[in-house]
Amino acid sequence: MKITEDEVRYVADLANLKLTEDEVRKFQADLDEILVHMDRLNEIDTSQVEPMAQVLYEAEETATLRPDRERPGLGSQVALANAPLASSGYFKVPEVIKR
């Protein structure tokens, strides 16, 4: 077995994801099957290969930079328009630490 139910609970915690016990059981089985498939990567020799984090093609070193010029932002009213709860120009959230 590649992953246990306890590990599923631990990873869900890392991901800030509340799972039901049914989901824990289901994901344990799903992830286990998927991780077994992933293990086939060990069959292939990559000792001479660099990791590829981005697609690379010939481009100037500065190709991705835009001129550093000031431009107007959205403004807080627009930025807050989709917030579930906001007031006085801020996002509002429940208390951070329980007293």
Binding site: I3, L17, M38, P51, Q54
Partner: protein
């Protein structure tokens, strides 16, 4: 005028000849799309006001003798992971059921500036994660060729709308095959351009090193025209390429004699007999058109699924962290503390497939597993890219199937995530290497299900890819 089979050229000619105005065409297109939507569920939202406003601007330009642009008056559908200012953008997720974006994606802005008319937003798998469109919180899309079958995913709504004729062209997004696979299942053309060719500003991020915006259309010509409009450097996307955008129509309608094509044997192993027979006929047709077809080998293909589902889920677990109940409309009601609010919002808001991918991505990035999974997957990704580069030193383009099988039944694979992932086997390699690739209709099975042929080309060599696809299309596909 048959609205369901309109081409961009027909729209332009009809407007110039005053057969219809842009407002008349848009009104009729909206009526037709709304009426047909009960069959397929392709659209989630119609944007009548925005469409009619854009149509009025096209009519004004025409009245003043001005050019309305290369897409002037053309009805377009936009996948609902691409943001539209003032028009609800759900990403197929319950989390964003009421999200109204405050800005337009660059691709959306460009297609409207070119005269395109956005009819509405199309259904898709939640956050573009899926291969069947069954992961949408708003119900699956049905395939217009067989309503009990999936349209493919994740751009299933865009592919179904174009196939059904409720849009002339559409925008989709492709991270592991999400434009090409639904295009093949629905019998339309679908293009994944070179990574960086089209700005992703305003494309909701799934896996940033793999995400592309790409066109879907009923002909190679219309797909090429739409790509020409949306392609090019955008200062708002630092990964968009500086390379100049060529005229993608310039080399259409020319011959393909002497073009060297590679047929990778790893892509022919697991095909259904009908898909295999159609691809074989397609290869014969390409030979008749004068292409040289070479047997090639891309052995790392066998490791592509494992590499892809590590990299894509790792990036997704990071990109989806933003949906925490603070900024994006949906928040769980039952939370006393901030930490509970994050957990409950995400637990209640995400569907099963998004949760599965967040879990897998978090796991492969977690302490102790990073080297074994994520780093290893990135190395294998490089091997896959290197194999393509080697192949392209010998051949001008690669031809292959898009999917091992045609559209499957709704519900058929929904309980088997690994089987669903394996269905992406022939499309994820192009995304991993960042090369341009497309699906072009090849023919149909005895049951009438479309099968697509895939063409893959060198970085920024979309012109040659289109030239080959166009020649194949004009020759009638495989038949």
């Amino acid at each position: 005028m048959d609205i369901a089979s309109l081409t961009i050229d027909q729209v332009r000619d009809g407007l110039r000849a005053r057969k219809f105005s842009s407002v008349e065409l848009t009104t009729e297109a909206l009526r037709f799309a709304a009426a047909e939507n009960s069959k397929t569920n392709a659209y989630l939202t119609f944007s009548e006001d925005r469409a009619l406003g854009a149509a009025r601007r096209v009519d004004e330009k025409l009245a003043h003798g001005q050019d309305p642009g290369p897409l002037g008056g053309v009805p377009v559908a936009v996948k609902d992971v691409i943001v539209t200012k003032g028009v609800r953008t759900t990403c197929g997720s319950k989390l964003l059921a009421h999200y109204i974006p405050p800005y337009d994606a660059t691709a959306v802005e460009r297609l409207e500036n070119a005269g395109g008319i956005i009819l509405g937003k199309t259904n898709c798998d939640e956050f573009a994660m899926g291969s069947s469109n069954e992961n949408s919180a708003y119900g699956p899309v049905r395939n217009p060729h067989a309503l009990d079958r999936v349209p493919g995913g994740s751009s299933g709504g865009s592919a179904a709308a174009v196939a059904q004729g409720t849009a002339v062209v559409a925008l989709g997004s492709d991270t592991g095959g999400s434009v090409r696979q639904p295009a093949s299942f629905c019998g339309v053309v679908g293009v994944t351009p070179t990574y960086g060719r089209v700005s992703r500003y305003g494309l909701t991020a799934f896996a940033s090193s793999l995400d592309h915006i790409g066109p879907l259309a009923r002909s190679v010509r219309d797909a090429a025209r739409l790509l020409g409009v949306i392609a090019g450097r955008d200062p708002l996307d630092s990964t968009s390429a500086e390379a100049p955008v060529p005229d993608y129509l310039a080399h259409l309608a020319s011959d393909v004699k002497g073009l060297k094509l590679g047929l990778p044997r790893e892509y022919l192993k697991d095909l259904t007999s009908e898909t295999g027979a159609l691809i074989a006929k397609a290869v014969d047709k390409l030979k008749k058109l004068g292409c040289e077809v070479h047997d090639i080998s891309l052995p790392a293909t066998d490791y592509a699924i494992a590499s892809y589902y590590i990299i894509a889920t790792a990036e997704a677990s990071s990109n989806l962290a933003r949906y925490d109940g603070v900024r994006y409309t949906f928040r769980s009601r039952s939370s006393d503390t901030l930490s509970d609010m994050y957990r409950n919002t995400r637990g209640e808001g995400f569907g099963a497939e998004c949760k599965r991918r967040i879990m897998l991505g978090t796991y492969v990035l977690s302490s102790g597993y990073y080297d074994a999974y994520y780093l290893k997957a990135q190395k294998v990704r490089n091997l896959i890219a290197q194999e393509f580069a080697k192949a392209f030193a010998q051949v001008d383009a690669i031809v292959a199937p898009v999917s091992p099988f045609p559209a499957f039944m709704i519900g058929e694979k929904v309980d088997d995530p690994m089987a669903m992932y394996l269905s992406d086997i022939y499309t994820i390699t192009g995304d991993l290497a960042g090369i341009p690739c497309m699906s072009v209709p090849c023919g149909k099975t005895a049951e009438g299900l479309p099968v697509g042929m895939q063409i893959l080309a060198r970085h920024f060599d979309e012109q040659r890819m289109f030239r080959l696809a166009d020649a194949f299309e004009r020759a009638g596909g495989a038949n």
